[in-house]
Amino acid sequence: MTSIQKPPVRHPSLQQNTLGLTRRDYEGAMSTLCAGCGHDSVTAAIVQAFWELDVPPHRAAKLSGIGCSSKTTAYFMKQSHGFNAVHGRMPAIATGANAANKDLVYIGISGDGDSLSIGLGQFCHAIRRNVNLLYVLENNGVYGLTKGQFSASADIGSKSKGGEANVQPPIDPVLLALTLGATFVARSFSGDKTQLVPILKAGLRHKGFGLIDIISPCVSFNDHESSTKSYRFTREHYTEMTAVDFVPLRREITSDSETAGASAVSVTMHDGSVVRLRRVAEEYDPTNRDAAYAHVRALQQRGEIATGLLYVDTSANDMHAVNRTVDRPLVDIPFEELCPGSAALDSLMEEFR
């Protein structure tokens, strides 16, 4: 009756993954978000995805900026290191961390304000570097934590709770990422866990920058009539381009038909696991950047929101491959290998005379 008690995201089943861990082992602190916030559903999907992928919690790192969305890193995987950076600057922290230790599984959580306003520059450049990071953008069209101002993803005409209509054109993170050469681009909806979990798994396995733009309604400030980021509006204008099915490495693929065929493309990730994309919209080719861009635009003009794994390119090199860093994480290299030593210095001195 008094303090609204929201139990941490719970899963009845105590089923164990190959590490012998239950979903509970992938949960975090109790959410302090509003009851019904889309972000909490994303949190639940993330818990599910990590659990299904058998990621040892302490081998994952959770990074975020500032915002209600960015708070969610505290609500899953309490056994992972977490990092709430400053507003809009998570990509830089993630880039540095990944440079130092390439072997961790990095997931970055951000919001539309965090990523498309103050953080736009860093967001774009992290894409350019193809940092090996799953970037989850919890998109609600507003600044939730500061009480509902329009964000850069708000659609023209979408009304605020106060009834004011947004007048600025929106930035679509999906089109932006496709334009900037992103190697994994998806869009989903916090309310569609069936679609979300396999996409998250594919994104976590993708070696490079994976963007998932998740429409995640803000029940306190942007879930009313005449908002284009409400649960209702999203459900009504939702169109799935590809349905994703993730086949983990260990489950070998038996028959061709299972992976390919007229209505499906199958993409093999760097670790050998396979993502199968069933074309829901016929003709859709998720491996063609320009086609993907054109499709998303076309649907937009029809007032529809293209969802699914919209584009993937597993051939591109991630930041480390591009910079040709050693296979070992830099943090694992002993000092002895890093310091040239006195002899080297002494001979170098001759060059300074």
Binding site: S80, N101, G121, L330, V331
Partner: protein
């Protein structure tokens, strides 16, 4: 006193014409003759076509601060004739290009004017504009070699090294060198009264710039991640790191790199990358200048409060704002000490020369990890980009990094519950790295947190952490390099300075003492100030605080941190953007002492020495 191996000259040309190589050739040749020498490059903030100067000072006693006056000026840039002829000391020499009649602007009584037809000689001797422009520079080097008796053996040796693989260039350089040399020999009685005589004073020395030294220090300290955004005058620091990392950090077999150098999209991002890498366990760093410091300030506050290491080099340039990118200053002291909003304080180290840049850089990484906080190396354009003569750098192979209190899996297994922000002594907490153990997991945030790294908005829990941070920085004050104190019996005054001012101040100190001023000298090397700095500030009735900024920022720091009242600290400020000269320091202190009613001093001129503060003109 004779002026063998004790004089200064400067060359005025246009940038982008290749005079740089001629100038460093001259300086290096003198150095190889065993004579202490220094060179100051005064260049414009563009790429080609604007006035540039190179000042060379020779001093047998090893005083290599910027010279206070010029015995000889080579004036090859009509745009600055007026300034350049004015810069010659009375009785000194002016060397110009007599391919054209002496321009009126160059006429001046009381100085000797020498003309060499560099232009015409090179037009005759070489083909094509570019070659002619380049060779003209070598030819003035030749003329100077004759006038100052630079050892031509040494010069040819150097040319042979430099152009070992470029026969054609080698020949033309020799030719140009000869043109100038022979002409001077034939037309003037060489050498001039002030000139060079080989010594043996540089055997154990090198010529080094501070940016190279810092880059080298980062490689030796085991830094693996560098992130930066280009900005003058810090750029060559990261380039040096890259050069040596490419030399020593590339796996022979695979060609793979044991370092990551990321050119960030801006300074905010560079700072974030440094913190991210350090958080994950790497030794990481960046280099920037004033504008970058301002842009990094939000992230520095995060580093301070979330307690993340990181080394930040500020190669200061003249501010405020974009200021004068190719001029030096010490204008960021106050900004750095308390950078970012809210209660913050940062560790800062103040190298006085390239040698110290190397050693303090390695120390900076130790301090950053030991105290889990951003550490600043406060350099400047003069130290960073000019070649200084300093002792050969040495490395102790027994050195191992101080990684500070980092709990590994084994240690974590021992602890009952890991509390990231609890005091483990001296205000310093223990940290863990991601990927090591589930037990080490904690949440890093710049928002209010408890000693157990949980979120809080509670006053007591908040204060527990920030009070410890204050204790931690106090502890650090005793761990940073202490001041270098030059004591003096019966000293009546104290002189305090830091960083690049040191070269000029120690020379000034020598002059002041020899003219009867009993002064003691303290050079601070680290911030927060420790007990030894506070002690020194209680010893004397009056202090002169010598620094290169307008607002006496070091003096402000001393007032805040040591409690010394302002009236005891007389500011001595030089902030025109050029390296400090001993003349300026002597004059200012002498003037002040007079103002302060102390008996006028013997041997100290009443008027400031020409040029001491007047910049390049």
């Amino acid at each position: 006193m004779s002026s063998i191996n004790d004089f200064a000259f400067k060359i005025a040309t246009v940038n982008g014409t290749g005079s740089a190589s001629a100038n460093s050739l001259l300086m290096q040749a003198i150095f190889r003759m065993g004579i202490p020498v220094s060179g100051k490059n005064v260049f414009p903030s563009n790429i080609q076509g604007l006035p540039t100067w190179y000042e060379i000072r020779v001093n047998r006693d090893g005083y290599t601060a910027r010279p206070s006056e010029m015995d000889l000026v080579v004036a090859l840039n009509p745009e600055t004739y007026a300034k350049d002829v004015a810069a010659v000391r009375p009785g000194g020499y002016l060397l110009y290009d007599s391919s054209w009649p002496l321009p009126p602007a160059l006429r001046r009584d009381g100085i000797k004017i020498l003309g060499v037809p560099f232009g015409t000689m090179c037009v005759e001797a070489f083909e094509g504009d570019r070659a002619r422009t380049l060779m003209r520079n070598i030819s003035y080097a030749g003329a100077l070699a004759a006038l100052l008796s630079i050892d031509m053996e040494v010069v040819s040796a150097m040319l042979n090294e430099k152009f070992a693989r470029k026969k054609a260039l080698l020949e033309s350089n020799f030719k140009a060198m000869r043109l100038g040399y022979d002409y001077a020999m034939a037309h003037f009685d060489c050498p001039l009264s002030f000139h060079l005589e080989a010594m043996d004073a540089t055997r154990d020395s090198i010529l080094l710039d501070g940016n190279t030294a810092c880059g080298l220090g980062a490689v030796f300290a085991g830094a693996t991640v560098g992130a930066w955004y280009p900005i003058t005058p810090s750029t060559s620091l990261m380039e040096a790191f890259k050069e040596y990392a490419e030399r020593w950090r590339v796996d022979k077999a695979t060609g793979h790199r044991k370092y990551a150098l990321i050119q960030a999209e801006d300074e905010l991002s560079a700072a974030g990358m440094v913190l991210g890498a350090a958080w994950a366990g790497a030794r990481s760093f960046t280099a920037t200048a004033g504008p970058g410091i301002s842009l990094m300030s939000e992230f520095i506050g995060l580093g301070y409060y979330a307690e993340i290491p990181g080394v930040f080099v500020d190669v200061q340039r003249t501010g405020p704002s974009t200021g004068m990118p190719t001029r030096t200053q010490q204008g960021d002291l106050l900004s750095i000490a308390y950078l970012s909003h809210g209660d913050t304080k940062h560790i800062a180290l103040f190298p006085a020369n390239p040698e110290e840049c190397f050693y303090l850089t390695t120390q900076a990484f130790d301090l950053a990890e030991r105290f889990q906080t951003p550490v600043f190396i406060v350099s400047d354009l003069d130290i960073g980009m000019n070649d200084w003569m300093c002792p050969r750098l040495k490395w102790n192979d027994r050195y191992r990094p101080d990684r500070g209190k980092v709990l590994d899996a084994a240690e974590l297994a021992e602890v009952k519950k890991f509390a990231r922000y609890a005091d483990t002594g001296g205000g310093v907490p223990a940290r863990t790295l991601p990927g090591v153990s589930p037990k080490g997991a904690y949440f890093t945030r710049g928002s209010g947190h408890t000693s157990a790294a949980t979120y809080t908005e509670d006053a007591d829990e908040y204060r527990e952490v920030v009070d410890r941070l204050a204790r931690k920085l106090a502890t650090a004050g005793e761990a940073v390099p202490g001041p270098e104190i030059d004591p003096h019996d019966g000293a009546s005054i104290g002189i305090v300075s830091l960083g690049g001012c040191h070269a000029a101040v120690r020379e000034a100190l020598h002059q002041l003492r020899s003219s009867g001023v009993a002064a003691e000298y303290m050079r601070v090397r680290g911030f927060p100030f420790g007990a030894s700095v506070r002690d020194f500030m209680t010893k004397h009735r009056r202090y002169f605080i010598v620094e290169q900024n307008r607002d006496a920022q070091l003096r402000s720091l001393l007032a805040i941190e040591t409690g010394t009242p302002l009236e005891k600290m007389v500011p001595v400020l030089d902030y025109g953007g050029l390296p400090l000269t001993a003349g300026f320091v002597v004059n200012e202190i002498a003037r002040q002492l007079r103002v302060l009613q102390t008996p006028s001093l013997p041997g100290i001129p009443d008027a400031p020495l020409a040029g001491a503060t007047r910049g390049v003109e």
